[in-house]
Point group: C2
Chain length 195, copies 2
Amino acid sequence: MRKEKLEELKSYIEQLKTIKLEKKELNGFIKSQGYECYLNNGSIIKREKLIKGTNDGSAVIIMPITENNEVLVVIEPRVFTKETVGIGFPAGYIEKGENPKIAALRELQEETGYVPEHLEQIDAFYQDEGCSSAYNYIFIAYNCKKKYPQQLDKDELVKYMLFNYEELEELEKLGYIKGANTKLALAKSKNYIKR
Amino acid sequence: MRKEKLEELKSYIEQLKTIKLEKKELNGFIKSQGYECYLNNGSIIKREKLIKGTNDGSAVIIMPITENNEVLVVIEPRVFTKETVGIGFPAGYIEKGENPKIAALRELQEETGYVPEHLEQIDAFYQDEGCSSAYNYIFIAYNCKKKYPQQLDKDELVKYMLFNYEELEELEKLGYIKGANTKLALAKSKNYIKR
């Protein structure tokens, strides 16, 4: 990777890093529910379920590929990680009743302003199957074009950059890409990407 | 895969499936903390952090390979998934102050009674980087031998089976393996496994 490109990435990380965390009573987006679970074999076990907002936390992950075969990557605050900033693919929660494909188009457009020519689901998985029903969908978005400005929520800060596939693998090897969602999307995309 | 083998797997799934969930006040293993986060660029954003027990939910995932080059897979209740039963690699939370490698040996032995000749960390990742600091370690456990009986907690029910690598890929393709942890471990193990 060119030195200037890594420098640009590092400058976004620098801007977005967390310098102080202050405990605060919030609305309670994250909640839990306790259950007694009756199994088919007669056992009864106790489990707690993780709830996010009014939904179960199911999400979409989008690997956006441009006309020039570059991959769009977002840089955003991940305040509870050691690095406090995460680098990965656009992603977001599916709204109640929303189709995963629609959610993927919406999240991609909101976070980057890019719109794909077509979208293909390449995998799906449970985020944390021991305590959650969150089911995440991985999409590749082909032939993406920048059509709109970003439309971010008040509390969102998202920078984006373009990398080729080799640079992405380099970023993962160097430890810049560390989230389960992006790592799994990257691994699963290998069968779908023209190098 | 031999028909009998898939039938054996299905019989465990049948035994372990959930037939009824009943809401119940529990201890609160899953909790959240709210924070105001001061970023380097002057922005202040609000985020909620997922807490599991007295820890952050960091876990180990172990892909155990036997002397005969078979892979040990556990079948256990995953009560909040659609299937209510999950199939994947042994895994578990790291205890406070515990070394990930020690946690991996402990979890493997508790869930299956198998002990490896050696253990290699092949990757690590954030489970849910938007709202958690949980950092998970993936290990391959080589030359595993059955040495002990299972030692399960009161609320744990774990069956296990041996599959070869091709059968594992078949199980993933057929939709039996759906958890992020196992999917990522399986994808990342490809560079380490003799076929």
